[in-house]
Amino acid sequence: MTNYVGQRVKRTEDPRLIKGLAHYVDDISLPGTLHVAFVRSYFAHAKINGIDTSAAESAPGVVAVYTGKEVADKIGPVPCAGALPDLKVPDHRVLATNKVYFLGHPVAVVVATDRYTARDAADLIIVDYEELPVVTDVEQAAAGGPVIHDAFSDNIAYRLTSGEGDIDAAFSAADRTVKQRILHKRLAPIAMEPRGVLARYFPGEEELTLWSSTQIPHLMRTQVALMIGMPENKLRVITPEVGGGFGSKLNVYAEEALLGWISMQLGKPVKWIETRRENIQATIHGRGQVGDIEVAFKNDGTLTGLRYSVFADLGAYHQLLTPAIPTLTGLMLSGAYKIPAIQMNITACFTNKMATDAYRGAGRPEATYVVERALDLVAAELGMDAAEVRRKNFPAPTEFPFHTATGLDYDSGDYEAALNKAQQIAGYADLREKQRKARDEGRLIGIGISTYVEICALGPSQAMPAGGWESATVRIEPTGKVTILTGASPHGQGQETSFAQIAADELGVHINDITVIHGDTGVVQYGIGTFGSRATAVGGTAVFVAIQKLKEKAHKIATHILKADASRVAFEGGKFSRQAAAASAAGSSEPVVPVGQAPAGALPDPDTEGKSSLTLQEIALEAHIAKNLPPDTEPGLSATYFFEPKNFTFPFGTHIAVVEVDRETGDIDFLRYIAVDDCGRVINPMLVDGQVHGGIVQSIGQAMYEEVVYDEQGQLITGTLMDYAVPRASHIPDFELDRTETPSPVNPLGVKGVGEAGTIGATPAIVGAIVDALAPFGVRHLDMPIKPENVWRIINGH
């Protein structure tokens, strides 16, 4: 039955959010809460000769001040889960001890009675710095610039070569090759809610509760417990509403452990809410690669080999997944194409900057971007159409599972179908004709195509640093209400609705009778979290399978109560019936105590005697009252399932951007934007569209506006939203979206994931369009962000 799955169901989480009644971390007030402010380094690299905290300590309202040396042996290092051969892992303490390594590096912390007092006192702390030589350029860092960490002889964190096939033979046998240097600038994730932590220690119970704006409550619980030496089962992490993450909250930060520890020292609740300035300085950045792409191909456009050599700018320290991100780029270098030989060479380096880590797409946008740019270069080299060179290299739908020379097996796909559909919506041939005519009139119109594939539903545990499964508990309460506990704690994706849709159909109940609970380690079984476009494909599947387990038990109870043969009892429309046919007329079943009709006193008695069918809710009541259960049956009606996927999923699609460049100003205007995405089976098309829109606009940001800039001294030039340009409503085109639907065989729901499709698929289409518009000037590639100034200089020969 599908009353809900596939439908545009309005979100059940929205009423509290649109009324301003939801609770993010900073909206939670506990009596007696103390406020924390950080002293952060204003140098990118310096030795700390001393810290004078006396004025701060004696300021009215200040409760405590801690410096790096005081906490160094109390709190363990900030964790890194990326394990690679010969990886250099610097000792990353929660506060700097002897040296600071990047602008924004926390040096000391002040605890005071309110946030204004804490900030004032932080300004009274005097740090005696001795400046050291700075290296911000990743290639300079690799080539032997100033060594950042005393423990190591150079700045190279690791080198890695990956790929399959005979790459040298591929290049020597090729008709032609092209190569291009490609920059992926650093980006700031800019979740609208900055990070924040509220910590409360209960000295009697010896328990600590952390409210944190995180994507991974359980992983944080484990890591923070290890860092502060507390039994994990005495630590509870609660993520209330999380105001966006985009990977920046897929991490365990110094502040989270430190706040917990401070609360234990003082026996009081303590709160820290990140300012936007701190957010751009000291929350992870994304991207940060300087690479050289080389492609070998035949004269007919057939690709024979691809090599990508990249310098990865890791920043000063590893955060949770920092070193792993460039390796994800290596995995996706085959793109949507048959390429017999692929090689990735990574040189990953420390620089005097904030750590890079997972930002929406996390290594995969870099791969898609270089492969798609390479295909455009091949097309330009051969004078072929950008769509045709892509079409020529697609694997056919019959070739799936499709093995790539990066070692993956793509689950399912029909890449040409998505391309055809996008071209049809765009009116591609007419567009090209229009472009030719416009050029004759001196107008600069460009068309860019991206036929991307992404790796999602992360992922099988074998391929993940700390578990790639996801968990769900589904239970039907005595009153018939359905409770779902998911480990995939969301931060805007809408799982409270989409998971309820899955359950409502499977259980035949009304969606409003379901509550999805997440983000509280005290309530929810261990889980992994929401990232890597995994929540529905892995977490949703866990819900689905848990429901099947629950229904098996309900079936057993129903068979017993209906005094029927198990094979004659079927579930349909929310009811177990002695004959399946008897239930065919049934719609969705009601809880035994419908809303608004709750009797004041007690639960009703089960009234199941002599019935020919039973609703799930009636069975739930029987299961809890437990006077009429089959022998050897546990009371209660709940099931838990931990779903381990056997493979990743591989969503794909085609994006077509059409732009016009203004010769006078260099301004770039979108004329059209078409996106045909295939994310497998769709649970809620409205949520899918929302994910695609948001992803594309982050791509527009990367392609045209955003760039974290440090100067040569490591000063952050883009330290506020005045300088770091996030797209605004006036920057976006009117999107034309459509879909193809190729189910994934990896999970029973057939879903693939869509959270990162836009950020992965869109940048090459946008850049391709701008480059295409400027093709009359001999332009074949431009680095992002492409600003009007760059364009104007090209047009005007400056």
Partner: protein, 157 residues
């Protein structure tokens, strides 16, 4: 030295003593416990803190509480009346104009002001009107549709 202020917030009169430097957003959030108004940047660039101050949408992170002395303030908590959503709130729900919800209260306040000034805005006028509010989740398309929905709905009533 604290200063006494008196203002009406969502129709309720409040008198408090505040530090002259206290920001209006902190007064609303920390003193009145109206936490629907959010802080996203402290530099009046993101618009998450937008409230109505004497009929004007303002960014409450760059208004001092003392400047609001004697004023009428409406926050997001004051938008739904008698259990009925404001048309803009309804539009955001109907059109999926929010994901994480953090920018949403400020967006709704700004959109309401936009429609007060222009009951039937074009797409371009909506985009222009929302330029002072950042959203990182939705890509704006559904927000624009939410405002169009609200305009249509208000036009019908």
């Amino acid at each position: 030295m604290k200063k006494a202020i008196n203002l009406s917030v969502n129709g309720v009169s409040h008198t408090d003593e505040v530090e002259p430097r206290m920001l209006l957003v902190h007064y609303l959030r920390d003193v009145l416990d109206l936490t629907g108004t959010h802080v996203g940047c402290e530099t009046s660039l993101c618009g998450a803190c937008t409230v109505m101050l004497d009929g004007q949408a303002v960014k409450s992170c760059t208004v001092f509480a003392v400047q609001a002395d004697g004023s009428q303030v409406t926050t997001i908590e004051g938008f739904a009346k008698n259990g009925e959503l404001h048309p803009v709130q309804e539009g955001f729900w109907e059109k999926h104009g929010l994901q994480c919800g953090y920018c949403t209260p400020g967006m709704i306040v700004t959109a309401a002001q936009l429609l007060d000034r222009n009951a039937a805005p074009s797409r371009e006028e909506i985009c222009h009107g929302l330029e002072g509010n950042l959203c990182r989740c939705t890509g704006y398309q559904h927000i624009i549709e939410a405002v169009q929905y609200a305009a249509k709905k208000a036009g019908q009533s």
